[in-house]
């Protein structure tokens, strides 16, 4: 991996001009890929129910805006999410495995996953053990993923690498490969709780790893860019990276997700601007 080259390529793709119909379609696509997320200590059943309603129907006045892909919460609230989303097609996702630090025993992590799945989680976002990765113990990193994979049952597994803690693009690629070899359905950049999230460079490196792994193994792994993608421009830039690295087959919520909380309203605001020609007020959109 060459840092300069990676960042140049990512920056070049930020220059793609996405206007008019491309902007509208891109925004709709981004909404459909959003994992609407709340991961606060102060989350309550009430807040989560409101968020589920928003995920199902982000903009009642613009019916062409699709539902989000999923709602992502802590395991304690996953039952509420599942209940609220029942029959809507929007998935219930839970973070687990001692999120966000992952500093717990494997047993505790597995219990965390099992409980979340039992309570209705259809998707599990786990964190890798950065402690094991950075001390060079690839075996333990993989073994944990394999065990969590088993504990997930039918639930989809997204493996969070927490790239900002890994220190280099080489590490990001290596961790991506470990996670995919160990059975991840998705690889995900970040918890959203660390210093940096899905930077363009990191996103590009992970997409390239997915491409190379798919070519080698024949298995298509998805990607979730989470953290720092907080406006439409950034979201569209990530979609450009996907389109020009993996191609159109990856431009679906089954293969690409955006993990975000504040992004959705900016997408809605920008979409409305493409319709009306001017920006609406922030208070015209519900917060959750």
């Amino acid at each position: 991996m060459d840092r300069v080259g990676i960042e140049e390529r990512a920056a070049l793709l930020a220059k793609r001009s996405i206007k008019t119909s491309a902007k509208q379609q891109g925004i709709r696509l981004a909404v459909s890929m959003t994992d609407l997320t709340t991961l606060e200590g102060a989350d309550t059943a009430g807040k989560v129910r409101n968020m589920c309603a928003k995920a199902v129907c982000p903009s009642p006045t613009t019916p062409e805006i699709p539902s989000c892909a999923a709602v992502c919460v802590y395991p304690s609230l996953i039952g509420i999410v599942r209940e609220s989303l029942d029959g809507t097609g929007v998935k219930a996702a839970a973070v687990a495995t001692a999120f966000p630090s992952g500093q717990a025993s494997l047993d505790v992590k597995l219990r965390d996953v099992e409980e979340a799945v039992a309570a209705g989680a259809e998707e599990i976002d786990m964190v890798i053990s950065r402690e094991a990765f950075l001390s060079g113990d690839d075996t333990r990193v993989m073994e944990e993923i394999v065990r969590v994979r088993e504990a997930c049952g039918d639930a989809h597994l997204k493996v969070i690498l927490e790239t900002s803690e890994l220190g280099s693009y080489d590490h990001v690629r290596h961790a991506s490969m470990l996670a995919m070899e160990a059975g991840a359905d998705f690889i995900k950049t970040s918890t959203g709780k660390s210093t940096a999230g899905a930077t363009p460079g990191v996103t590009l490196v992970m997409l390239e790893a997915i491409r190379d792994y798919a070519e080698r193994s024949g298995r298509a792994v998805g990607m979730k860019a989470a953290g720092g993608v907080s406006n439409s421009k950034a979201a569209l830039h990530r979609l450009v990276l996907v389109k020009e690295t993996l191609g159109d087959e990856w431009l679906t919520p089954e293969r690409f997700r955006l993990g975000a909380s504040s992004l959705l309203n900016d997408l809605l605001m920008q979409y409305e601007k493409t319709q009306t020609g001017h920006y609406a007020r922030p208070e015209d959109f519900s917060r959750e």
């Binding site: 991996m1 060459d2 300069v4 080259g5 990676i6 140049e8 390529r9 220059k15 793609r16 001009s17 996405i18 206007k19 008019t20 119909s21 491309a22 902007k23 379609q25 891109g26 709709r28 696509l29 459909s32 199902v56 129907c57 982000p58 019916p63 062409e64 805006i65 699709p66 539902s67 097609g89 390239e208 979609l239 389109k243 020009e244 191609g247 159109d248 431009l251 679906t252 919520p253």
Partner: protein
């Protein structure tokens, strides 16, 4: 009500995003820029300048005849003592002014460059025009420090510089030539290329706006015969030429015995060397940038791709996949990666060499992209199983065509890279620092890029070995060509 169904139907393509040429102040016709003004030709002719993407005429341009050239050289002669007598600080002020005006008219210049030459607006906007301004800024700074650029010795300008530039970077090459010449106290007669005179004429307008003293810069468009006549003018003191090796040799013959210093920046068949320990995905980007930048109309294009055999299949696979994602088409579309071929003549030459490659037994693959009906286009192409003796491994194609050769060891890589009549540039891709330096010092090439390609900077010297020419442009080294050092 929004449902899962709405979501699965979403397909996403980039909509056309053309840069609008509306506000470009393009005149219907341009005279010759001589002695501070645009003048009707004395014995020249009016010739249309064609948009290669549409085959439409953009403007009528005066091509200089013999009398016109004499008049241009006379004007430069007359203005030279006064220009040289200005303090370096004062000359620098004019150059700074030109640089700023290029920035002010950047958008217009970029659009005209793309319309006249066929290059993607992304490149003219982000590379050609900003670099042209940067060259004027750089040499503006040197104007009052000339002796510091030549180890403290005494310096004097040559006098009148005859400068001939090619069609691949019309504005940028004009800047490369004019900025150092003017900074050093020379005056100039610039002949832009026959197919792309417009941005040089815009630059002439900018010289007027900057109130550059009349006669310091002449811009006299014309074809090859005008270039040949210009270097044979008796009143010139210095010749600088960028273009083909054939014309370069003719110029050198014309100057023989006249004591006129010459710099030549000619063709190339530059080697881009990919070692097995390189960051391969970034190397693929470098290969793409090396050969498809400006449709491969780049004298230092990485047109001979040398890949270590152990990774050749992987790299070629990745490269072919990447080539499929290149967006070929309207040069004015902001999402276009590869634009139009500069002229019908150049397209014919590319086709001829590509056919030769096929006949000689190399394996050709061209991207199956849709090409516009009007205009001149060539799909990005890769040749594999190329032998060093094939014409496509030896001759400059000057188009979006890369020839792939393989090597086994570092020594073989160096031997193959140097096995060329040319020596303009090279690229080395490896993660090993020691290897990079070792190979770089063994390569006979004026520029060696490590883990990148086609990066240009006004502070860095550019020029060739062997049949790629002599003399350097850019940085302090570029001052030498325009100074008598004593």
């Amino acid at each position: 009500m929004s449902t899962q169904e709405t979501r699965t139907r979403i397909v996403w393509d980039y909509a056309p995003a053309p840069e609008s040429p509306e506000h470009v102040r393009l005149r219907d016709s341009y005279g010759l820029f001589i002695d501070g003004d645009f003048r009707a030709p004395l014995d020249g002719t009016m010739v249309p300048s064609i948009n290669p993407a549409s085959e439409e005429t953009l403007a009528e341009v005066a091509f200089a005849g013999e009398e016109d050239l004499r008049r241009a050289v006379d004007a430069a002669r007359a203005a030279q003592p006064g220009w040289a007598a200005l303090s370096g600080l004062e000359r620098g002020k004019y150059l700074f002014r030109i640089a700023r005006l290029i920035q002010e008219r950047a958008r217009e210049l970029a659009i005209v460059e793309s319309m006249d030459g066929g290059k993607p607006i992304r490149e003219s906007r982000d590379v050609d025009v900003p670099l042209a301004a940067a060259h004027f800024f750089h040499y503006a700074g040197w104007a009052d420090k000339l002796s510091y650029g030549v180890a403290g010795r005494d310096v004097a300008p040559h006098g009148v510089a005859a400068q001939i530039v090619p069609w691949n970077f019309p504005l940028l090459m004009a800047a490369w030539k004019l900025a150092p010449a003017l900074a050093c106290g020379n005056t100039a007669v610039l002949k832009p290329a026959e197919t792309t005179p417009l941005t040089a004429l815009f630059l002439a307008e900018i010289c007027q706006e900057a109130e550059l003293p009349p006669g310091v810069v002449q811009v006299v468009p014309g074809d090859g015969s005008a270039g040949a006549a210009l270097v044979r003018q008796p009143g010139i003191d210095k010749v600088a030429f960028t273009g083909s090796t054939g014309v370069g040799k003719d110029i050198q013959a014309a100057l023989a015995g006249r004591g006129i210093p010459l710099t030549l920046e000619l063709g190339g068949k530059s080697a881009n060397v990919i070692f097995e320990d390189a960051a391969l995905d970034q190397a693929v980007e470098g290969i793409v940038n090396g050969i498809f930048f400006n449709q491969g109309h780049v004298c230092c294009a990485g047109s001979r791709l040398l890949i270590q055999e152990s990774v050749a299949d992987v790299v070629i696979g990745k490269l072919w996949e990447r080539m499929g994602r290149l967006r070929v088409g309207d040069p004015l579309d902001k999402n276009t990666d590869v634009g139009a071929i500069n002229s019908r003549e150049q397209l014919t030459r590319i086709q001829e060499l590509v056919s030769a490659g096929e006949e000689e037994g190399a394996v050709r693959r061209s991207v199956a992209c849709e090409l516009p009906e009007r205009g001149w286009w060539f799909a990005p192409t890769i040749f594999t199983e190329v032998a060093p003796a094939h014409r496509i491994a030896v001759e400059e194609i000057f188009g979006p065509v890369v020839s792939v050769l393989t090597f086994r060891t570092q020594a073989e890589a160096i031997q193959k890279a140097n096995n060329s009549a040319y020596g303009l540039a090279a690229g080395i891709w490896t993660d090993k620092g020691a290897k990079a330096f070792e190979v770089a010092s063994a390569l006979q090439a004026g520029v060696v890029w490590q883990n990148t390609y086609n990066h240009f900077d006004p502070t860095a010297a550019f020029g060739g070995y062997k049949e790629s020419g002599f003399g350097r442009e850019g940085g302090p080294a570029g001052l030498r060509a325009y100074l008598k050092v004593s």
